[in-house]
Amino acid sequence: MSATLVPDVGRTVVRANYHPAILVTGAVVVAAFFSLAPWILPAAWVSVLNNFFLLLIMATMWNLLAGYAGMVSIGQQGFIGLGSYALLYLALKGMNPFAAIPLAALVAGAIAVPVTFLLFRLRGGYFAVATWVVADSAMLIILSISYLGGGTGRPMPGLTGLSPAQYNHDSYLATWLTALVVSVGTYLLLRSRLGLVLASMRDSETAARSSGARVTSTRRWIFVIAAVGCGAAGAVLAISQPFVQPGNAFNINWLAEMLFATIIGGIGTVEGPIVGTIVYFVLYQSLQGLGAWYLIIFGALAVAVALWQPGGVWGLVRDKTRFELLPVGYRVRER
């Protein structure tokens, strides 16, 4: 039956309004460029790119949570901190920090599983503040563990054998590869069956529930996946610092940045976090040396976008041009 959903009267069903080969070629070219960046670009640019991909991972995860699953979390910095500290712990136990990144991310995810059973008793604004309570609790517990450096923190072990150039190089590649895995994974997830359920939840939770979508278990999956993603971001952050300290690893500014980037770029779209992260770095670079003003301006911009242009920059582009760079749905095209 499914083959005849759209009768063959000169129309086809496609994902993109451009040839799929363009997407694949484009992705390969972009991936090759960023993989070779340390050899092509000056070191200062590579360092900016490192921070860019760090924020891109976080924004992508926050977009998945809030934009698709409708969960406004203001506690994602908790999972960033847990990822950092999980990596520190594994490295202190003798693991290679780079090899331990996936494991550290999974630790953050494993902690998120029981947490969902508590948090999901609350909705909306109460859920939001409760996520912060969980993040704050995680930080306070870490603070009291002297093995992990308490309030003053500890340097990341296992990196001393690397020359400075080699270290910058490896730490960039770790961040970039993590960002690549997170972005491609999120994109494939949104194109999958789970993505379909998410899109239906985003548009109308009641309708999704009455059509048989398992809303609560989907939310739980997304919350855990976002914890894994933010844990991975925390792990690569710990390597690129390379010093793990509670005030930085659990900083609420991570949350502010990922949230603002998502809103400005376009919440609930795949492209939004990418666009928002670019806007953030343009602002950040041009307001350097002005202290916290970049965050004030970025925040004011995000508030304005949320009020008057809730689709964000990408939403505006898509509505004007009907163009989707990374399509997750289908569209009917005349042959």
Binding site: V72, L119, L140, S144, W293, L307
Partner: protein, 291 residues
């Protein structure tokens, strides 16, 4: 006897937390939204008391008489402009916008007044205490704040049940469309509710600034979290529950601090998470309030 003292100190702290929380609880009851900038507004009120009142040639202990009405006005204007615009979009937008405001306020305070702590100075009055016996001291100031918190909650309860504006607030909160059909201007009613909420949290912020130091981040990581925990522990939708929730939070924190000062805040979080696990509607809340 040390335990009695721990509990007495906890109960006294509960007054602050109940005062933090009643505005948050009221706004949620009326508009079904959480103002994530709630705590930051308290800190701005505290900073106003620190930097404005010394120019007014009045004793600083009476500064709240000037600052609280200003913040009632601020609350009304904030509601009629930014918050109403966000609310017209969706509750989701309100969360994003109030979080944005929170970050803006904290970073502006940081840029203008640095990260240094600021205190509202009321001179020697803060040191006065009443020695019950060899181990129990009751600070007069903390006792006054507890009494003020009880009085504010009592007046609010009376206001909501006895006055015509109070009844309008409840009508709009129960069924906005029906209240509108009967001629209620819900935007104005929301504005009044926000004015009350912001005024009470301003009073709380000034009192907290007298007791301890305020920093740009006090509003988020302390005032908002404690207010929220007090509301959930007591039960969403119950004003007197909020008072009990605040007191229990204060006691839990003092018990934690008694073991190790580093566990003060964590003990409060643990109580909150335990309530969430065992009785998510809170001690005095109704199950329906959760959905």
């Amino acid at each position: 006897m040390t335990w009695t003292n721990v509990i007495v100190q906890g109960v006294l702290f509960g007054g602050f937390y109940a005062l933090f929380a009643c505005g948050l609880s009221l706004l949620f009851g009326v508009m079904r939204i959480i103002n994530l900038a709630h705590g930051d507004i308290a800190v701005v009120a505290g900073y106003t008391a620190v930097f404005l009142v010394p120019h007014l040639h009045i004793a600083e202990v009476w500064g709240f008489i000037v600052v609280v009405p200003i913040f009632a006005l601020v609350g009304y204007v904030l509601q009629r402009t930014v918050l109403q615009a966000a609310l017209d979009r969706s509750p989701f937008t309100t969360l994003l916008v109030t979080f944005g405001l929170s970050v803006l306020i904290e970073n502006l305070l940081l840029e203008i007044y640095t990260a240094n702590g600021q205190s509202v100075n009321i001179g020697s009055l803060i040191g006065n205490s009443w020695q019950v016996n060899s181990t129990i001291y009751v600070s007069w100031f903390e006792l006054v704040v507890l009494i003020v918190a009880v009085a504010v909650l009592g007046i609010l309860q009376l206001y909501l049940s006895k006055t015509s504006t109070g009844r309008l607030i409840r009508a709009v909160s129960d069924d906005r469309e029906a209240a509108q059909i009967c001629g209620a201007n819900y935007r104005h009613i929301f504005g009044i509710a926000a004015a009350i909420a912001v005024a009470t949290v301003a009073l709380a912020g000034i009192s907290y600034g007298i007791l301890t130091e305020l920093t740009p981040t006090t509003g988020g990581s302390q005032v908002l979290l404690y207010a929220f925990e007090a509301v959930v522990i007591g039960g969403i939708g119950s004003l007197w529950g909020t008072l009990i929730g605040g007191i229990l939070l204060g006691v839990a924190q003092q018990v934690g601090a008694h073991y190790n000062p580093a566990y003060q805040v964590l003990a409060g979080h643990v109580l909150f998470l335990a309530i969430l696990a065992l009785r998510p509607q809170g001690l005095f809340g109704k199950k329906e309030a959760l959905t």
